[in-house]
Amino acid sequence: MPGFRVLIIESDAEEAGRLRDLIRACAYTSPSGCTVPAETWCVDSFAQARSMIGRVAPNLVLFGPASARVATAGELRQLRQQGGLAPIPILFVQDLKSACAGEVPKADCDDIVIKPYNPGLMEMKLASIRRFRDFNRSLITQRDRLRRHHADFLQEQANAREIFGNLGNESCLDDTDAIRYHLSPRAVLNGDLLAATYTPDGKLVLMLADFAGHGLAAAVGAVPLTSIFYSMMPRGFSFSRVLREMNRKLFDLLPRQMFCCLVMLELDPRRNHLRLLNAGMPSPCLVRADGAQELFVSRHLPLGVLADDQVDTAIVNYQVRAGDRLFLWSDGIHEARNLRGEHFGEERLLALLRKGAESGEAPSRELQDFDRILVAVNAHAAEQHDDLSLVELDLSKPSLTKGDCPAVDYSGVRRGGRIGEWSIEICLAQEELREADPLPHLLSVLVQMPGAVRFREDLAIALGELFRNAMEHGVLGLDSSIKNTDEGFVRYYDLLEERRQQLDGGWIRISLRCDDWGGGGELQLQVEDSGSGFPPCTRSGRGVYSGRGLAMLRTVCRNLEFSPGSSLVRAVIAWGDGQPTDGENGGAKTVQTPTVPV
């Protein structure tokens, strides 16, 4: 228990001695039970007191009757300032017999001790001052502790934010002007999460997620989510496979009452095909070139709620047309409240987008809609209640095609390295086909080859096309012509999902053969399926292998062969000089079978 120190200011030595005895006689028992007598110091003037205060740090200053009479308000103020945060109570002695009693600056002292002294009263006053001193001290201790905790907490959040920020380093959000986004966290850490990257075959994948809760817990959940996204997507795992993986991981990690709402989309800019899953987020709005709006309502539970969940049935497919733009937002925008507590709501947003479509030319509109929404939300919201995110995606902009994006860096790979001579064959049966995702495995083997980055994207596209065709047309027997209308397009993908779930037979065999003659080479891909084979040749180009798929294959392959009645397709990707230096070796491997030119 710290002692109680009293500084007595009194010019009359006899009077000072009397006060000191009086104070020493007062017994005080602290809340902790020990009795410590007060320590006293006597000085005879205010000037002396000032020089003592720093040294003594008194808990109480007592002005004796003579000193009290001459004390000024200014002096008392100085005294208080010296006390700093722990205020020093100031007591005046007032001599009732003295004529000048009225001159005491009463308002500036804390209490008055009346002379002649009453020891009982004095004891009470001192005890009460001590209690206040103890109380004040514990408050300051608590404040300091809180301050320290708060500083630690902010530091922790700042560290977490840095980690969180680094997670986004892999994103391609800033590589294209077709994506505009605004994220504004309510706290240091953002519960909203935006990520985008490309698949090996050049599809853009974008995810906007919102964790229940914000701050640290939400950011912690973002770590596995982002790392799954950025590790699986660029390796070519399928959209639904990645989503299932995310759901599983979040279910394992998150406390029961936490979950993650999310919109994830995959845009194939070459085929103008958009796939989208909405799990509990506000509906993204597709604004067509003519201003028509379409909402992608949530068709799935938030991720992390159920242990194992089929996401496929909730994925929607969409054919993109020139001028289509997609707006995504988190519920921070919906729930922005004004002073009357009214939410901003979806209706206001859609109205803003409608207004945008009605006014002006398309190019000026693009910037306006995005900014206008933000301005309107900020104008509406009295204060920010939640993380607020807005994303605009121009679906038909050419800059969405990966082309210029830096390829995933497989460090240590020499571009001119030898790829080698090898072959692989994989056969997938019905069980595997239901969940089929052979591309990432094949691609991950292939990128191990030095120099393979040179044809990585071509290979991903060719393999993807060949596999999809074998699966959709061969094994599942779907007819591409269903896709010719908008409704048919959606119907086609619904049918695809339905038939895949019910698949009880069939197989796909994929074989790869690589020839490397130094400075150039060829990769031969063969894909065969259990289907009934291609229908009799349709030279018009229409039919099973119709449309974009074929065109895409042709852009990446030097050679493409398939025969009617057969279900075997052979494609060749070439690089470098294109001609083997050793004619015998190279020639033996390009077996020419009678084929139908396509």
Partner: protein
């Protein structure tokens, strides 16, 4: 997602006439501030009810924290179900705003909503 400010909200509980059904009514804003009261409403009910009905007729708004609390209630009922009959959970009387939130989150897939 929002953990909203406290408005005047309350949790009321009653046991329905048959004695086996626990009715929990949440008034006002069903949000994070309710979590203690909401948990208290169904935990420590002995014997456990055969059904828990969450009456949302006086719920004005419901946020993600409330959805989380409903998941906890569902988990609790599964837990109780290990030793006997699993109490059934029903959400009833949601206003249009609240049902919209429930349907956006697709909670109708894991709860019976009337």
């Amino acid at each position: 997602m929002v953990v909203s400010d406290s408005y005047t909200s309350r949790v009321y509980t009653e046991v329905a006439d048959d004695g086996d059904t626990l009715v929990i009514r949440v008034s006002g804003n069903f949000d994070f501030n309710m979590h203690r009261e909401f948990q208290r409403a169904y935990r420590n009910v002995s014997p456990p009810p055969k059904a828990v009905i969450v009456d949302l007729s006086t719920t004005e708004h419901l946020d993600s924290a409330a959805l989380g609390m409903l998941l906890l209630l569902r988990d609790y009922c599964v837990e109780v179900g290990r030793d006997g009959d699993e109490p059934r959970v029903e959400l009833i009387n949601a206003n249009s705003h609240v049902s919209h939130i429930l349907s956006v989150s697709n909670f109708d897939r894991i709860f019976s909503i009337r």
